[in-house]
């Protein structure tokens, strides 16, 4: 978090750290008295050596009762004695082993998901057991068993099938009943009807000593459908929790301004009406309230779906969930978190992550009309065959076959399965997708803008040369530099503190001007640190170095400004990313707030058109203009001076080292140093779109072939069940192809 207007500089550095620890504390639980349990998200876990390193480090730490790293979910769970070590030490141990950690969002939704998944697996196992054994018995009947032997097979099949239908068929029956109660026919209604009819007719036959029974169809249908459901759920759960953990959209606490001017970090549940909440850039408003001080651009896309930022000033009312993009605000809460839209926000956040793309929504709409149509078709088939003189049993069975075959499972799976697989493929390559719909937008992008600092460069500049400063000047400069999160400021601060200076405590009225610099008052004198124009320094045009070089100016009062010279290494993979985008006919441009010469140094080797000295407003304007004239725009930035631009672009990406704002405002976040993540994400997006369309074709094709066959009586219930499941399987397998061939030729095939 960057500091707010009222903070003093060293509080800012500690405040961010304190807030971070508080977030962890709020996520910890106490399973037994005196014992703490903490689950952490650790995206850098990659292999067995990582597990060994983490568990070894933790188990040798004092007071640890148990530690486990989960490689599939990329989490670390640690349990320790409360009196033996503080929470910060546990985190320190893991980070000392070299792994970044974030608090894990463990809410009741997660454990409900796990319980539901387990129930699904149990039902799947039972129905699989039943289907296999009944098939065993059916084979002997097909092979020609007669008389008493056949009856025995049928009776044993009935004994196995009926409890199975009652137990394993529950998910479908419950869902169909719930739909019926709301006067709606959902997808599960024809399925339940098919199962019940098949089992019912077979039971009737068995009781009357008939020749054929269809228990195998009923139970196989249940098994195959449950299998499809489990696969779908497993993929989606993996994708969703990955995005949710790293995105960390919902805060667990907030800074409250106390009457004495101090600040206190409180859990959300403890916020009351009238509390004055401090929002830094990158924070989401935890409660509804009125702005008391500060101005900022807000991202309200989670509430309104509109990504265009909205400016707010004192007196404006904002709702919980709005994201402050570029300024600090003091908010007076209207209502406690429980009564404000907080639960609404969590729901909205979850909904945003599950938000379906246009294609998926289209499929949903089709599926809704489908169910009544399916029943009608089955009824029609039965009626026609009855009229044509078939026995009631035969006509009914043909109706059942039609019911089964017309199940729109394949259509319903087409888009979500592809999106879930794409999410997983991206996650394995270190790219976090926060919003499924964003991937579809990425596939349609026609232009891309790249920020310079932090995107085209690594964002870890070093100070090449520093001016001569007196001890008190250096102390003041260090305090000022520490108050900003801009990479240049951090580089200056790092350089000064490495030379042994301590920040001074008396800075007042600290203000950061995005795109220009940071200023404060010390003993009545104004100090400024930032761009040349901000400090009224003459620009220099002579650059002798090979690497991109930047200048940061420092000015005390009216004295002549002095300068720091910084270098920043370019990011690997930039050429590959830009080349790949260009080959796909996406126009690429660099936008930066820095001076021309450093931007030219970075952009020219990449043959990038570039624009320098862009203010945050200039960046938004450029994004909007390109969006209107050329088509959807991709913005890649680190959020420091371009958070509103990130929000305004159709799709945005940010590196994981970006500021909190950047990570919160961007649709995709990529870890790792290479910029080729951008082209990888683009390739995955294009591939996903193609595969969704293929899946629709498969689902439609299957229906066109299978429905006439079933209606004509050429397929019995069992064949129908197998055919329908095969189409779902085909759609799923096709979706799995998303991960193939999306890596650039130069990348190694490391799939972890």
């Amino acid at each position: 978090m960057s500091c707010c207007a009222a903070a003093t500089p060293e509080l800012a550095a500690d405040a961010a750290e304190a807030a971070r620890l508080q977030e962890f504390r709020l996520a910890a639980t106490a399973p037994r008295p005196g014992v703490h349990l903490l689950r952490l998200a650790a995206p850098d876990l990659r292999c067995g050596a990582c597990i060994a390193a983490v568990e070894e480090a933790l188990s040798s730490a004092h007071g640890v009762l148990g530690a486990r790293a989960n490689l599939a979910a990329k989490t670390i769970t640690v349990e320790w004695r409360e009196d033996a070590a503080p929470l910060s030490e546990m985190i320190g141990v893991v980070e000392g082993a070299g792994y970044r950690v974030f608090p894990l969002e463990e809410d009741s939704g997660d454990s409900a998901d796990r319980a539901a998944n387990r129930a699904l697996l149990t039902r799947l196992a039972v129905s699989g057991f039943a289907a296999a054994n009944i098939m065993l018995l059916s084979v002997s009947v097909w092979a020609g068993a007669e008389g008493a032997a056949r009856d025995l097979m049928h009776w044993v099949s009935a004994l196995i099938a009926l409890p199975t239908v009652v137990y394993a068929g529950q998910p479908f029956f419950r869902s169909a009943l719930a739909g019926l109660r709301a006067w709606r026919l959902n997808m599960d209604a024809p399925i339940s009807l098919a199962i019940l009819l098949a089992a019912g007719v077979s039971l009737f036959e068995v009781l009357n000593g008939g020749e054929e029974a269809y228990f195998d169809a009923a139970v196989s249908l249940i098994f195959l459908l449950l299998l499809g459901r489990w696969l779908d759920g497993a993929m989606r759960a993996g994708a969703r929790s990955a995005a949710r953990r790293l995105a960390q959209l919902a805060p667990r606490g907030a800074w409250v301004l106390l009457p004495g001017g101090e600040r206190d970090y409180r859990p959300l549940a403890a916020l009351k009406a009238g509390d004055r909440v401090l929002l830094s850039p990158g924070d989401r408003a935890p409660v509804d309230g009125v702005v008391e001080a500060g101005e900022a651009q807000l991202d309200r896309s989670i509430l309104t779906g509109e990504s265009a930022p909205v400016g707010v000033a004192p007196g404006r009312r904002i709702e919980a969930g709005a994201l402050a993009l570029d300024g600090a605000l003091t908010l007076r809460a209207d209502a406690p978190a429980a009564q404000s839209t907080l639960a609404e926000v969590s729901r909205l956040v979850a909904a945003a992550e599950d938000r379906k793309s246009g294609l998926a929504r289209l499929a949903d709409k089709a599926a809704r009309v489908y169910a009544p149509t399916v029943h009608l078709a089955a009824l029609l088939a039965t009626a026609v065959w009855l009229l044509a003189g078939a026995s009631p049993r035969d006509a009914l069975l043909i109706g059942v076959a039609v019911l089964i075959v017309t199940c729109p499972c394949a259509l319903g799976l087409a888009a979500p399965m592809a999106q879930a697989v794409a999410c997983g493929a991206l996650f394995r390559r270190g790219i976090m997708l926060k919003d499924g719909a964003a991937l579809e937008r990425l596939a349609t992008v026609r232009g891309a803008f790249f920020d310079k600092t932090g995107v085209l460069t690594l964002g870890r500049p070093n100070v090449l040369s520093a001016p001569d400063l007196s001890a008190s000047q250096a102390a003041a400069a260090l305090a000022l530099a520490s108050s900003s999160r801009h990479p240049f400021a951090r580089a200056v601060a790092g350089h000064l503190s490495a030379h042994g200076f301590e920040p001074v405590a008396a800075l007042e009225a600290v203000r950061e001007h995005p795109g220009s610099g940071v200023e404060a008052m010390l003993g009545g004198e104004r100090i400024r640190l930032g761009a040349a124009a901000f400090c009224d320094a003459a620009e220099e045009t002579q650059y002798a170095d090979d690497e991109a070089v930047s200048r940061v100016w420092l000015r005390f009062g009216e004295a002549a400004p002095v300068r720091f010279v910084l270098t920043d290494a370019p990011r690997p993979g930039a050429a590959e990313a830009i080349g790949a985008l260009r080959r796909a006919s996406v126009s690429v441009e660099a936008l930066s707030g820095d001076l021309e010469a450093p931007v030219r140094r970075v952009a020219e080797p990449l043959a990038l058109p570039w624009r320098a000295k862009q203010s945050p407003q200039d960046k938004i304007a450029a994004v909007r203009r390109a969006g209107e004239s050329d088509g959807p725009v991709l913005m890649v930035g680190d959020g420091l001076n371009d958070a509103p631009a990130l929000a305004a672009a159709e799709v945005s990406m940010a590196p994981s080292e970006a500021s909190d704002v950047g990570r919160a405002a961007a649709d995709l976040v990529f870890t790792g140093a290479s910029l080729s993540a951008v082209s990888t994400a683009y390739r995955v997006a294009r591939r996903t779109r193609a595969i969704i369309l293929q899946n629709f074709a498969i689902a439609a094709g299957y229906n066109l072939i299978a429905v006439p066959l079933a209606a004509a009586g050429a397929a019995g219930p069992l064949e129908a069940a197998v055919a329908m499941s095969t189409s779902s399987l085909l759609v799923t397998l096709n979706a799995l192809r998303i991960g193939w061939g999306v890596d650039a030729p130069s990348q190694s095939g490391d799939r972890r």
Binding site: G48, A72, F129
Partner: protein, 63 residues
């Protein structure tokens, strides 16, 4: 026919054993981290500390 009266229950019992074994493995959380377990057998060091026991499977917040 007499053979069938013996074989069918035998087949069902064996199948049932398989089902119970699967349900047991599910209950003891063996599917939580398939990748990690695969890697764990290759790690060459003293036994890891026991993983934290789940209490009721539901982590409740302290707030």
């Amino acid at each position: 026919m007499n053979v069938l009266l013996f074989l069918i229950p035998a087949a069902l019992c064996l199948g049932g054993l398989g089902l119970l074994a699967f349900l047991w493995s599910l209950k003891t959380d063996q599917y939580d981290d398939l990748e990690g377990e695969a890697e764990r057998i290759l790690i060459d060091r003293p036994a890891a500390p026991p993983p934290p026991r789940k209490t009721g499977g539901d982590l409740k917040d302290r707030t």
